[in-house]
């Protein structure tokens, strides 16, 4: 961290203190997330391979490790098609807009105790608000590409994210009720030497985990881009680097929400020996491993079953959990 501080000091000389932090932070996050996407794409294909009795990509790099770089460079070199009948401006904007919210959310996750950037008093609320914006760009993509399959996929994604945003919020609320704050750093510090919140709030943890599976459009909730029904779902008409943007956004969203889950329930950067951010990474990759595992095991839920599962099961359970926590906290507090 001292190297960063020195770099920031020299930069502050040119552009002033605040701008330097902001610039350095943005570059750091963008670089890390780009690296993470490459790693996650490879991890998903290798894990899928091993789940399915095969070895996954082996040709590129030692033991297939550079496969995702080959994918990205190939996608860079692809011709970018814009179908004539699309709504051009909205069609071009959708891929850009899809991963801006996830980048903002990434900057709000506290990496380590003192030096980390994020010390927002209302961090959790901002995060939950921003994570609702990604569905806007999915709908824009689906609607503008003038393809009936895409419109179907877009409609489905809007309904799904609305239905699964609420359990995620309620699960987070029950944690906030215990920690008495919405500042993520204080939530983590509240878990410092007591037991982690995943044990205090097991129901909320499960709800949160199911919610982020649905929010990142991953099976068994991947109905917006259901391969076997809607051909390509909302990104059917996108090719080349634009399609890669959707790929990039999906995996970034996965990491960010997993990190949020780790911060809320698994005690973000707390952990012996290793520095803070490394612990946060280990925990979020554990959550991601379970996400990938679930994807390659379960078939897909039908659209209306998915909705009834959210409205009739998850949300009532979340509300009951909230009430129980309130009674307990009030009783003890």
């Amino acid at each position: 961290m001292t190297l960063l501080a020195a770099l920031r000091g020299r930069l502050a000389g040119f552009v002033g203190d605040f701008l330097a932090t902001w610039l350095l932070g943005a570059v750091l996050i963008m670089a890390f997330l780009a690296f993470n996407v490459l790693f996650l794409v490879l991890a998903e294909r290798k894990l899928a391979g091993h789940f399915q009795r095969r070895v996954g990509p082996m040709e590129v790099g030692p033991h297939g490790s550079l496969q995702s770089i080959a994918d990205m460079v190939k996608l860079l070199g692809k011709q970018i098609l814009t179908p004539v009948a699309t709504d051009r401006f909205v069609y071009l904007l959708a891929p850009l807009l899809i991963f801006l919210p996830t980048l903002c959310v990434a900057s709000l996750i506290p990496l380590a105790g003192a030096e980390a950037f994020a010390n927002q008093p209302y961090g959790l609320l901002v995060i939950v608000a921003l994570s609702g914006v990604t569905v806007l760009s999915i709908f824009m993509a689906g609607w503008s590409s003038n393809n009936k399959y895409s419109v179907l996929g877009a409609m489905r994604s809007v309904a799904q994210v609305i239905a699964y945003e609420i359990p995620v919020l309620l699960a987070a609320l029950s944690v906030v009720m215990i920690a008495q704050t919405t500042n993520l750093r204080q939530i983590v510090e509240a878990q410092h030497n007591t037991v982690w919140y995943v044990l205090v709030q097991p129901v909320a943890a499960i709800l949160f985990f199911i919610g982020i599976t649905a929010e990142t459009n991953r099976a068994p909730f991947d109905i917006p881009e259901a391969e076997s029904e809607l051909v390509g779902g909302f990104h059917t008409e996108y090719s080349g680097m634009r399609f890669a943007m959707f790929f990039f956004a999906e995996y970034t969203n996965m990491l960010v929400l997993a990190a949020l889950g780790a911060t809320l329930f698994l005690g973000g950067w707390l952990g012996p020996w290793l520095p803070g951010p490394v612990w946060l990474l280990i925990k979020s990759y554990a959550v991601i491993f379970v996400l990938i595992w679930v994807r390659w095991t379960y078939p897909r839920l039908r659209f209306d079953q998915l909705m009834s599962f959210a409205w009739k099961v998850l949300i009532p359970v979340a509300l009951v959990n909230l009430v129980v926590t309130a009674v307990l906290v009030h009783g003890i507090g």
Partner: protein, 178 residues
């Protein structure tokens, strides 16, 4: 001087002339090689089975013959995201215009493998007075690699894909650029 693109389907000579006009003035050999190397190692085929060869194509994607080792197991259903079309099975005359539409919908650096006798020359269904099939994919689209067999074994398709990868790495283009 803008490159004039004739309306309708350009003939071969015009395509050659267009390719010559549009050739980049500076050949960036290094970038070309890296691009071709990456393209060769991440060929995404389109899920497009026509008949019996489709089962052998699926068998190649499964655990025993494992197309994934060459980075080609991501079967994209939409032609927009695929860059390899494996023509697996008989192309009937009712299906030929659809295959052509799919081929035109795929973004440009695209290749095609004619798998099985039917897509190479009509195979077992070619006889005098035959009315139902298109005798080979060459009749209406460009084919880069032919994999003979009826159906070819999964190893033969793997060999076809590896031959295509060699061809991409050397950046050569055979056959009419239609």
């Amino acid at each position: 001087m803008g490159v004039v693109v004739p309306a309708g389907r350009p003939s071969d000579q015009e395509l050659e002339r267009l390719a010559a006009d549009a050739a980049p003035f500076v050949r960036l050999a290094m970038v070309e090689d890296v691009l071709n190397l990456c393209r060769a190692n991440s060929l995404w085929p389109i899920t497009f089975g026509l008949a019996c060869c489709a089962i052998e194509m699926m068998a190649t994607g499964m655990a025993k013959y494992d197309l994934a080792r060459f980075g080609a197991e991501v079967f994209r259903p939409s032609p927009r995201q695929a860059d390899l079309m494996i023509l697996a099975g008989t192309i009937s005359r009712k299906m030929a215009p659809v295959v052509q539409t799919l081929w035109d919908q795929m973004p440009e650096p695209k290749w095609s493998i004619a798998m099985g006798g039917c897509t190479i020359s009509g195979g077992p269904f070619k006889y005098p007075g035959e009315y139902a099939i298109a005798e080979g994919a060459e009749k209406f689209m460009r084919v880069d690699v032919h994999v003979p067999g009826c159906p070819p074994r999964p190893e033969a398709l793997l060999a076809g894909i590896l031959t295509l990868e060699e061809k991409i790495k050397q950046g050569r283009r055979f056959g009419r650029t239609r």
